[in-house]
Amino acid sequence: MIFLNGDGSDLNAGDTVAVALARLDIGPDAKGIAVAVDGAVVPRGAWEGFALSEDARVEVLTAMQGG
């Protein structure tokens, strides 16, 4: 099971980060977005090519009020 922001998803092993982002309606040009997979940054330029493993944990983060 691939987890997307803490929730189980119907993503499959081999799906890319870009596919995961599409589930959140986030396109390749979205502003102020960062992605971590299994605790490491996936830079924007790698979203299209980064394939997720079957138990990947994907975190999709953006700006929130704070500090």
Binding site: M64, Q65, G67
Partner: protein, 269 residues
């Protein structure tokens, strides 16, 4: 005079410079706690702040409005924080993600060691600061008011230090002005008083103690009138800075007459 500009009120004002970047305002604004993005935008304008903090959190598909758009519109610089991180590892990863999300190397480094007081975890803070400086970040660490820790952070290459006046959101003011003054003397990087400020006089005190800037969040965002308080803080920081650079008189135990005693008339009793 280099680094100085003429202010609206005719006084020569000095700029704040952090890591080579100049700011006219010595007030940093936290964006947390504002009830609406409109109120945040109004408070930013009233505060005249040029650098505001943002946090990084999981995207909420149902969120109303875009914080990034509001901050872009306001024309302010972003200072991403690592709020909520308890380990150097998490703080470093959060800073890396913030750099990716916001295209800035600047980070307000927070590594929290205690849930009730939200006090910094010094060993983890030092570890994270060292790694982030190595990775080219401009690191502004949230720290205790310990002058020795402040110097360690400076020695690691931090661009400024951000000592707390009191715990985050406590509104307790500056509990140990003596330590803040010692820290000010202990480091040469800018000192940004962060956390604890509850009202304008406390921001002025921070500046009078020699701090280079003040960061305010809750005191503005949770005030009954955030825009009014943002205005008050703007004036307080300016007043405190000007008082500091103007040189206060020494404290004395007894009165010193401000009117000359020479030439005093002698009246018949």
């Amino acid at each position: 005079m280099e680094g100085h500009v003429e202010g609206q009120d005719g006084h020569v004002e000095d700029q704040l410079t952090i890591a080579g970047r100049a700011f006219q305002s010595r007030l940093l604004l936290g964006t947390g706690g504002f009830p609406s993005l409109q109120l945040l935008a109004d408070a930013i304008e009233a505060s005249a702040s040029e650098l505001v903090t943002v946090a990084l959190r999981r995207i909420d598909p149902n969120a109303q409005g875009s914080l990034i758009d509001v901050l872009e519109e306001a024309g302010v610089g972003l200072l991403p924080n690592t709020a909520g991180c308890h380990t150097a590892r998490d703080a470093v990863l959060t800073a890396q993600l913030a750099r990716e999300a916001f295209q800035t190397d600047w980070v307000k480094l927070e590594v929290i060691g205690d849930e009730d007081t939200l006090l910094p975890d010094a060993p983890e803070l030092l570890r994270a600061a060292e790694q982030l400086v190595d990775e080219g970040f401009v690191v502004l660490p949230y720290t205790t008011d310990d002058p020795v820790l402040g110097r360690r952070l400076q020695d690691l290459g931090c661009a400024a230090v951000m000592p707390l006046g009191a715990p985050i959101g406590s509104g307790q003011g500056i509990r140990n002005p003596y330590n803040i003054a010692l820290l000010r003397d202990a480091v040469s990087v800018p000192v940004v008083l962060d956390a604890g400020i509850g009202t304008a006089s406390e921001a002025a005190l921070a500046m009078e103690l020699g701090c280079d800037a003040v960061m305010v969040a809750s005191a503005i965002s949770r005030a009954q009138d955030p825009v009014g308080m943002a205005t008050a803080m703007r004036h307080a920081v300016k007043a405190g800075r000007l008082a500091y650079t103007s040189g206060r008189i020494p404290r004395r135990d007894y009165a010193t007459p401000s009117t000359p005693t020479e030439g005093l008339a002698e009246f018949r009793g």
